[in-house]
Amino acid sequence: MAIKKFITGNFYDEEILFPAVKKVRRAGYRIHDVFTPFPIHGLDKAMGLRDTGLHTAGFIYGITGTCTALGFISWTLAFDWKINFGGKPYFSLPAWIPIMFELTVLFAAVGMVMTFCYLCQIAPFVKKDHFNLRSTDDTFVLALECNDKTKDEEVIAFLNNLGAREVAVQYKETGWWLGRYDKDTMKFEKKN
């Protein structure tokens, strides 16, 4: 990843943020991201984000778990080492349902959480650049990505007009790096 130039605005109320996001998009600016302290329903749609496919991934992991349980238990009890439990059939499916269910849930949950961490690129010791520390507390930070043609003053005035506060130009790393939050371990040179 690379360091890019952004113009950020801080919104103190989600009821100001929503129309602002719509107007910013209509004006043709490119929203890098909106950072919020809690999930805001409908904001993803307003920003034009696609639905996440995490549900589908979870379904696939779950089915994998079911098949793993069924396959493994059938192989051990009906093929590899047959044991006669009170004359019951070797392939005794009803007795295997509990474990098949548990493994379905286990695979789906573990798989989804790992996929979630991978998609969001989050893990212990991962460090990312912040636009504004208050975005995990009480405000909503809108970051617009700039390019060569962006006229800074124009965008700043536009955001101020929409109700944003503390509008500023910021240079931020968009990716992550391994680091600690108690030390400034940015491996790239910061421009600001």
Partner: protein, 484 residues
């Protein structure tokens, strides 16, 4: 926006006082960011001491064998499995609150879910200790997992409820942990960004996984929570169902009944909510969180206690009726002579169970009682005593007199090391809970902020005027198309 946030005035506010988002952060982070109080140190020290006693008790058992316990030929399961079932039952409330109530869109869960989930995890850890150390040769505990071995390979018996338990408990623990921690990540990020001290920045920096609060990440986070809730809901029901199968699939009189799965699940929720009440009544007071865990929350949970307590009561009576109506002499004998008969060696335990679980929660039909903190706290303890006796009654009174009178054992009472082991799990549980309450926010920050403008006291007042509008006016003003 307003339509999204509208909620009827009939519902009491879930966050009291005039709050904004920043104030919520301040209030909930305060206990974490200030030095521990004297009360915390006293409570924590006592818990650690009790835990040490538990470790000594377990060491005795491992060193000298299961003979250190008073288990004998017919009473193979005594206090240890009673305690296992009791703890695992308590461990059901957290996931119920966070998963089932999430699916039912119960806003009040946000005030209590984080602490309840933490409690679930610690309770499951405590529960897990009992079957593990009961094995005696605990160094061979890995035999329960199906791995390729040099004994054939001889596989574990997948048809056995005891093995289902292994899978159920380990899955339940893993899923609860993932659910709890994935919800905690954004809140830890808040603590990280507020941190002033070096060690806090380091610790919360690692624990927050580099969370930023990006909208896309929140979108995935919401999807993850919802699907995990969907998965955890049947999981909660399955875990105690499987625990009940340990008994129900046997042919022991008093165990061999089909009512066990629903009966155990209701009992688990019942005891779990009681434990949540015990902890939260104290936590809200000590950490000054009365505005977030309001009397309203306590009231709602007491309603669940009276509901599940009554389900348990009906289950007890049904079981009793069927034991008589079923016409099986052994089954009826187990109930009539070993349980109902107050003069029998364990008759007192059955009646303690009946009193604590069926009769006493009926007090919660009265609103005044539901909203009384002393009554709530006292009842929560009483319910947990009753639920412990339920498991004790099921286990011990069924096996101390089995089919052959020649095998009827003498009176079973635990040794000091059995009691010590049980006490030790209390030490473990409270040590974990004290550490959690000190280092993590006990209330789900992001979730409280999410409901604040709908359920916060001052926001609800402002919304009162909306009720006087007609539907057309309301839709005209506040209708929106979900941003499509």
């Amino acid at each position: 926006m307003a339509l999204l946030r509208y909620e009827s005035q009939v519902r009491a506010p879930l966050v009291a006082g005039d709050k904004d988002y920043h104030q919520v952060t301040e209030d909930i982070c305060r206990p974490v960011e200030t030095r521990p109080t004297k009360a915390w140190w006293i409570g924590f020290s006592i818990s650690v001491l009790v835990l040490i006693f538990g470790i000594v008790s377990v060491t005795m058992e491992v060193t000298y064998g299961v003979g250190q316990w008073n288990l004998n030929k017919t009473i193979g399961w005594g206090w240890d499995i009673t305690n296992f079932v009791w703890w695992i039952g308590i461990g059901h409330a957290g996931t119920l609150i966070s998963a089932i109530l999430l699916l039912f869109r119960q806003g009040w869960r946000t005030g209590v879910n984080r602490a309840a989930e933490a409690m679930t995890i610690f309770a499951v850890i405590c529960a897990g200790q009992f079957p593990i150390w009961h094995m005696g040769r605990v160094w061979d505990a890995f035999f329960v997992f199906p791995y390729p071995n040099t004994r054939g390979p001889l596989w574990v018996n997948f048809n056995s409820p005891l093995l289902w338990d292994v899978f159920a408990i380990s899955t339940y623990f893993t899923v609860s942990l993932l659910f709890w921690y994935s919800g905690l990540i954004p809140d830890v990020a808040t603590l990280r960004d507020r941190a002033k001290l070096k060690w806090r920045k380091l610790f919360y920096g690692i624990a927050a996984f580099g969370w930023t609060g990006s909208t896309k990440h929140w979108q995935r986070h919401e999807a993850l929570s919802l699907v995990l809730a969907g998965l955890a809901t049947p999981l909660v029901l399955s875990v105690h169902t499987i625990v009940s199968f340990d008994f129900a699939t046997s042919v022991v009189p008093g165990w061999h009944t089909t009512i066990f799965p629903p009966y155990f699940v209701a009992g688990a929720i019942f005891s779990g909510f009681a434990m949540v009440q015990t902890l939260l009544v104290v936590t809200r007071k000590v950490l000054a969180l009365e505005e977030y865990i309001t009397i309203e929350h306590i009231d709602v949970m007491n309603k669940i206690i009276v509901l599940t307590g009554s389900i348990v009561g009906i289950a007890y009576l049904t079981e009793l009726f069927i034991a008589w109506y079923g016409g099986n002499a052994f089954e009826w004998h187990a109930f009539k002579e070993n349980r109902l008969n107050l003069a029998s060696p364990y008759g007192w335990a059955y009646w303690i169970m009946m009193g604590c679980n069926v009769l006493s929660p009926q007090i919660f039909w009265f609103r005044k009682m539901r909203r009384n903190l002393f009554v709530t706290f006292f009842m929560s303890i009483l319910v947990n005593i009753g639920m412990w006796f339920e498991r004790f009654v099921i286990i011990v009174t069924s096996i101390y007199r089995e089919y052959l009178p020649s095998a009827w054992s003498t009176y079973y009472s635990p040794t000091i090391w059995e009691v010590g082991f049980y006490m030790g799990t209390f030490g473990l549980f409270f040590t974990c809970y004290f550490l959690f309450a000190k280092f993590f926010p006990v209330i789900a920050l992001a979730e409280i902020k999410h409901i604040l403008k709908k359920n916060g006291e001052n926001f609800k007042e402002k919304m009162g005027e909306l009720e006087s509008e007609t539907v057309e006016e309301f839709a005209e003003k506040h209708g929106h198309d979900h941003g499509a």
